[in-house]
């Protein structure tokens, strides 16, 4: 089966763990979906006079997946973002919450099998963590790592299911499409790269009667990252030798008016700066570590606005 023909689609669930009937799937603009369900079985620990294996015991199952995407603005990625934030979109804004209903989703992977196409469907998916990476010259990359409650397989589409094409279908965003509105108070910073990790620290919950998790628990929400700016003045480094608090991180991503994403962390701690030395050929850059803390004004450590001007 040719991987180019694979189709990845998502749909938000109304009931956690249940794919809606006659689902209106949203096609994802993914690079690939990696990760594998784990259904461990281990050799039985019992003693036997022949010293050899005679049986196995079943462990608990986990359903981790990773969806790799370029930074795009579309309906499918909106489902993933809402799951990461644990909150539905409200007036095109996402803030950190602890809502499951409407933020879990089903992930369907369809393989092109010619006569018969295999389908794998993960239900009750929640985004565990996201890594964001922007390097000049390349499209921004987002890796959504998720956990699911279970997996089903099929050889046909769900009755009356539809698959909406990604919309809008603008080009993926690159760092050239990023406007740095505010970066920790630095004057006209020239940013070289940005890496962020956002995590929900999910925990799978198991109970007697099933090897599958019956629920997924939300843990601490953590957003942190490293930004690299060209070393222009001592203050780029020295200002953060002592950890700075209450700093703002505010960027707008995208090239199309009213279809941009704006990511704001209004209360960052910025710490542990470093100046690199690339050797004889190169330029110096300062790396700054930051942690997004609860921001009372937004009632959220991080805020994502879609369809921004």
């Amino acid at each position: 089966m040719d991987s180019a023909n694979k189709q990845t689609a998502v749909i938000a669930e109304v009931t956690v763990g249940t794919t809606p009937a006659t689902p209106a799937f949203l096609l994802a603009r993914d690079i690939r979906v990696s990760g594998a369900p784990q259904r461990p079985n281990t050799r039985s620990p019992e003693r036997r006079p022949d010293r050899q294996a005679a049986s196995m015991v079943q462990g608990v199952a986990t359903y981790p997946k990773q969806i790799e995407m370029p930074w795009v603005r579309d309906a499918a990625s909106d489902v993933l973002w809402a799951s990461l934030f644990g909150s539905p979109w409200v007036s095109n804004v996402l803030k950190v919450g602890s809502v499951r209903t409407g933020t879990t989703f089903t992930l369907e992977e369809k393989y092109e099998g010619g006569a018969t196409d295999p389908y794998r469907r993960l239900t009750g998916c929640m985004v565990d963590n996201v890594s964001i990476n922007f390097q000049n010259g390349n499209p921004g990359q987002i890796n959504f790592s998720l956990l699911a409650l279970g997996e089903t397989t099929a050889t046909t589409a769900i009755a009356s299911s539809t698959y909406a094409a990604p919309t809008p279908a603008y080009d993926p965003s690159t760092p050239a499409d990023i406007v740095v509105n505010s970066l920790f108070g630095l004057a006209s910073p020239k940013v070289r790269s940005l890496q962020m990790q956002i995590s929900n620290n999910l925990q799978q919950q198991y109970a007697f009667g099933s090897a599958d998790p019956f629920a997924i628990g939300l843990g601490e929400f953590n957003v942190q990252g490293v930004v690299e700016v060209y070393f222009n003045a001592l203050a780029d480094y020295s200002a953060f030798v002592v950890k700075q608090t209450g700093q703002t991180f505010d960027i707008t991503i995208g090239a199309t008016m009213n279809f941009k994403d704006r990511l704001v962390l209004g209360n960052c701690d910025v710490f542990n700066p470093n100046v690199d030395d690339p050797g004889q050929t190169g330029v110096h850059a300062v790396t700054l570590n930051f942690l997004g803390k609860y921001y009372a004004t937004d009632a959220s450590a991080m805020k994502l606005t879609r369809n921004a001007p």
């Binding site: 209106a24 006569a115 196409d117 046909t156 539809t162 698959y163 909406a164 094409a165 919309t167």
Partner: protein, 60 residues
């Protein structure tokens, strides 16, 4: 004698490009049907109601 079955149809305007897979039965491969944004077509009342509810189409 039973009355002939009448296919009720609704004319709709496709608002968003989408596709679906239609089973041909008997182990035959599913057929992919594509619908392009801006297309005006006649479909069964059932499909029309489903697609309108999903925001994929509206009555033309």
């Amino acid at each position: 004698m039973a009355a002939p079955e009448i296919d009720m149809e609704t004319t709709i305007l496709i608002l968003q490009t989408f596709h679906r897979f239609v089973s041909e039965g008997d182990g035959r491969p599913e057929r992919k049907e594509r619908y392009a944004q801006g297309q005006t077509i006649k479909v069964s009342d059932e499909d029309a109601a489903d697609w309108i509810a999903k925001g994929l189409a509206r009555e033309a």
